[in-house]
Amino acid sequence: MSDKFEQDAVISGVARSAIGRRLGRSALDLTIDAAVAAIADAGLTREDIDGICTYPGGSADVTFGYAGPPPQEVQDALRLNLTWFQGSAELPGQLGAVVAAMMAVSTGLCRHVLVYRTVTESSAQGGGGRAAVLGSERAHSYGVWSAPFGGTSPVNWLAPVAMRHMHEFGTTREQLGQLAVTFRRHAALDPDGAVFTTPLTLDDYLAARMISTPLCLLDCDVPVDGSTALIVSTAAHAPNTPTGAVRIEAVGTAARGRLSWDQYENLTSMAAQGAAAHLWSRTDLRPADVDLAQLYDGFSILALVWLEALGFCGHGEGGAFLEGGANIALSGRLPLNTNGGQLSGGRLHGYGLIQEAVVQLRHAAGPRQVRDAEVALVSNGGGPIAGALLLTRDR
């Protein structure tokens, strides 16, 4: 055992399927494409794969195209022989599945874990119409405290966070809009992966139709069909990877405070606070050492809140940090969501962000490559759930 379990595993391979709107392909089909490519990227064959982990797993909720196939379907389709598998949503953010895979490797349960996240939300919403968004007749669990009052979509739960942030700190829509505008510019440099690549101006942003004040259409990520897969391997495999392994310097998994959409102590923030503090407690690196970040942007406000929680700027200073967009550009202080994030790249539920971080640390990002990238931060989740990973280039 190493001093910390993060050192026992590496990300050895990564790949994605076709990503797009209403691809009309099954979740399993897309997953297999990503999985086969990721296994090859790791310098492995499927005989080497002895673990599978996914978020959230197909039994979670297949209705909305949200879950992807369960591990057993992928295991059978690829005829894998596994010593460990897991699908679960109750994790510290979507990348909790990566942390679970790392734990399985660290404890010796397996050596090479296929981790995947697959969505067919675009096709599901196209076929299901509004009913696919509105859900059931009765609200259950925590939804009983939002849905009866028309807290229908996550945008309704997060818009109040943006509203409070603007009220307390003077954050403006123009500042928030820099996220959409900058990510679109980055997306144009990833035409094979990103969904939206046509240039976007701040005026376009300000003119976009309102969804839930103060968040407009361009503050919301775009539902897509697609699968991302990565291979978490034992660290001993790192020298054998053809395209380069990425090290995991630290994880942030802590759940602290009252983690809900409306009871969290400070509604200008969220669960990101706990995950960020935990991550920095597990490394000697500091925010100033980070070369680029891929911050969860299911909605623009989430990326702003993550910026503050992770210490890239002070609490309440996110708006000023975004002002003008220079800080978060590819040549800026903290290049952010370098493949367009989810706002322009598509809602791969955080896994597109992990993939991009790996590609950047391998120095394989082509025209959007951040120069000399050595350290990358990836965050996932928003509101009540959050997880973070600090990744480094293998040296």
Partner: protein
């Protein structure tokens, strides 16, 4: 106009929350409160999260609150109900005692953070929905 409350999911009939959704029958808003230490609980739970006492019971609050934050939903999830104000209100009885709800009874662009509001109830789906109207000064 279609009644929005009838086109959204109704509250579940969970035993722990039943008192809450029935409380408005007499026009009074109630939350659970710890009899031992006085802490208010929301969402409902069977023990006080502060002192772990099991002696918790519904107690009335004044029904006055302040808009802590809000959003005006414009997107037409269910045509006919937009725009509406989805708000988080905070109660003077305890710091951080909050409820997600609707603010009604005024144009949506008059709602603002810090606004004084008071509870009123709408009876639908066999439940009394606590919603809030501007407090007239």
């Amino acid at each position: 106009m279609r009644d929005p409350l009838l086109h959204r999911p109704a509250p579940s009939d969970d035993p722990s929350g039943r008192f809450f959704w029935q409380s408005g029958e007499d026009g009074v808003l109630r939350f659970l409160r710890c009899t031992d230490c006085g802490y208010w609980l929301h969402p409902p739970s069977s023990r006080c999260p502060r002192c772990l006492s099991a002696d918790v019971a519904p107690q009335p609050v004044s029904g006055q609150a302040t808009v802590h934050t809000f959003t005006v939903n414009v997107q037409s999830w269910t045509p006919g109900q937009e725009p509406y104000v989805y708000a988080v209100v905070e109660f003077p009885e305890q710091d951080g005692l909050r409820l997600s709800t609707n603010v009604i009874g005024c144009p949506v662009d008059e709602v603002h953070i810090g606004q004084a509001v008071r509870v009123t109830f709408i009876h639908r789906n066999d439940a009394y929905y606590p919603v809030f109207v501007p407090e007239v000064s």
